[in-house]
Amino acid sequence: MNFDLGRVTLVALFAIVPIVGIALGMRAPALRSKIPVLVAFFAGLIPIVSLYIPKDFMSGDSGMSPRLDQWLIIVAAFALLLGITNVLSVNNRKINRREPGWPYAVVLLTGLLVTGGLGIYGAISKQGIGLLPDGSSTPFNWITVYVFQSLQSTIFALLAFFMASAAVRAFRARNTEATILLIAGGIVMAGRVPLLEFLAAPFPPLQPSAAAASQGLGKATEWIMNIPNGAAQSGIIIGAALGGASMAIRVILGIERGYLGLGKGD
């Protein structure tokens, strides 16, 4: 058995401490909110500190930090499926109580159970979820290609219609800021596509001028994207990143505990 210091420390921090915390929490409810915060402190600190401590037990090949990265790949997989428990219970209740729209809940659960079941079958049978060795499709892959991909593409493609409708009805130059927005949007929309060439297509004598104008519009678009847009995006990135970093410090130090379902007084 491999008992590297890094591995053992991780197990102590994230298995032993929680077990002790759960045991204590059963007797003393006040500790149910305190010990998780302590565990969070170490979970948040290790990835940061490992960048600055080049010691084997921390950031070496079998150190704490790389091993924790591997652990969290696994935990992330479980976390991705968390929503399913909620969906199952909500839709189950809907069907049992025959609430309005309950047949659609049946459709949803059928889709979930069939596709999920095929995924589980693929794992158990070692068939996988892609193509079989002979090039044919597993049932899971078939559903992915013909149901999942087509539905996802189409649901998002609907946005094009609503976007066009909103632009036509709501985009008005009501004030200075809206005018700036409209002008910038107009230049970019015209500059990113060969619109002038398209308009000049039935008029051959105009085509060289249209091409030259289109080039100019394209250059103007690139300048807008690089300089004013680049500057604004840079400012947004800096602001958001500083906000995110300060939130990270608050979470790691236990000041911010809302993510655990705890309020300020808890």
Partner: protein, 291 residues
């Protein structure tokens, strides 16, 4: 005239939907073949890949799903074609949970069929999907096999010649991420910043404006912005490799260049209606001011 304008703009939105449908369907049924102009960020991306040598290894990450496939698929396909043509070896992964894996599998199957000499496990490999995003990227910095112990079908990486000598992502020349959402950004801010591997990103048009800040700061080699970026890349490929020019001309499959026709027509209509809408708005405002 003003009354007509107002009545037109007050039409049921379903007429606008119909117009959108016809604007986009028209160029599919009657292709126009409009020209594409190349921008600097696409040119830089193409030139960087062109400068790679046979045997170099690059990393292609499918960080998008079917919700943006018409934009990202052509980018990934063009990148794969260029790499396989130049005998650059490709490691393929998918980090986007909602559909990245399926698209990676399909894209690889489509493109590698055009290059029968390219061998799986030697010239390219598909490592599949992995949960965890930044956790995966951190692990890739030290040991790829710790994050991806097997390829997409469960075979150990040690079985594949391409993975010999490839311990971490530091050993690849480039990461190309075709991305929607944050995962593409993580390659830049996590992998490039902490490990130093050059990154080219192919974002959707919705997220492309943000990446100009990363281009400006030198964190990106280049960017292919949306379907237009993909069309530019296809043009550069056709210019640089005549065999690909004939492929792109003759293929019945979807290409970004073909898609640009529909973009142009609809942009024209939207701009026209925005202008008409504002004319009506100012007329209304002038009428109120006079009253």
């Amino acid at each position: 005239m003003p009354g007509l304008l107002h009545r037109f703009l007050a039409l049921d939105r379903r007429w606008i939907f119909l117009l959108v449908l016809l604007s986009v369907a028209g160029p599919i049924i009657f292709p126009v073949g409009l020209p594409v102009t190349v921008t600097e960020s696409t040119q830089k991306s193409f030139d960087y890949i062109e400068a790679l040598k046979p045997g170099d290894i690059v990393w292609l990450s499918f960080d998008y799903g079917p919700s943006s496939a018409p934009e990202n698929d052509p980018m990934a396909e063009a990148f794969l074609r260029q790499c396989l043509l130049k005998k650059v070896r490709v490691v393929v992964t998918a980090l986007y949970p909602l559909g990245g894996l399926g698209l990676a599998n399909q894209c690889l199957a489509r493109i590698t069929a055009e290059y029968p000499d390219a061998k799986y496990g030697v010239d390219y490999i598909n490592l599949g999907y992995k949960d965890g995003a930044t956790a995966v990227m951190r692990r890739l910095g030290d040991d790829i096999s710790a994050a991806f112990p097997t390829d997409v079908s469960g075979r150990p990486l040690s079985e594949f010649p391409i993975m010999r000598g490839l311990k971490s992502i530091r050993d690849v020349k480039l990461v190309f991420t075709a991305a929607t959402g944050l995962i593409g950004e993580y390659w830049i801010t996590q992998v490039h910043s902490q490990i130093g591997t050059p990154v080219i990103i192919g974002p959707t048009a919705v997220s492309a404006p943000k990446y100009y800040a990363f281009i400006n700061s030198g964190q990106l080699v280049g960017m292919l912005g949306g379907m237009k970026g993909a069309a530019e890349y296809e043009l550069l490929l056709s210019r640089g490799h005549p065999e690909l020019a004939s492929l792109y001309r003759s293929t019945k499959g979807f290409t970004a260049t073909k898609g640009m026709d529909g973009q142009t027509v609809l942009h024209g209509f939207i701009l026209l209606f925005i202008v008409l809408g504002n004319i009506a708005f100012f007329q209304e405002r002038a009428k109120k001011a006079r009253a």
